[in-house]
Symmetry: C2
Subunit: 77 residues, 2 copies
DNA sequence: ATGTGACTTAGAGTCCGTT
DNA sequence: AAACGGACTCTAAGTCACA
């Protein structure tokens, strides 16, 4: 998908993509991130595939575990 | 609360406050916003009181109904 | 180390009302 | 117009076995 078309992408899909990008940038496995965020390994995978409708509390837990602001996980990058 | 201390505020609380601020700026009632966002009147009130753990899909619906980006509802302002 | 289907349960979200 | 409560229904949260 072109960057210029990403504006219409759902927030869920953006969150999924950014979460995975940031996790990999930090060299973390889904399992390691799950541990840091206090969530389950398979749940992280499911979020990254944009299958889950994540809540704001878990979004914040994930942002904290990745050491970023929650906004960074929603921004188009 | 001082602006300088708001960084430690939860994302849920920020979302609640910004939602209410933007809704009032547009001169909408909770009922009218609920209709626009396809949600229930009492649920909007509950979110604005930061009692609910809103999902990303509904956050986006609310942002759309307020004609802003979802990020604007999470940013400290 | 991750994807996936299936599952249980906590809580999201609705609908009725009263204050 | 909004807060709040009770009683719902539906879905996100959270886990597991296995590929």
């Amino acid at each position: 998908m072109k960057r210029s078309n990403r504006q219409s992408e759902s927030a869920r899909a953006r969150f999924a993509r950014n979460l995975k990008t940031l996790r990999i940038q930090l060299g973390l496995s889904q399992e390691a991130l799950a541990a840091n965020a206090g969530l389950h390994r398979t749940y992280i995978g499911s979020i990254e595939r944009a299958e889950r409708n994540v809540s704001i509390d878990n979004m914040e837990h994930l942002a904290t575990a990745l050491n970023v602001d929650i906004i960074d996980l929603l921004r188009v990058q």
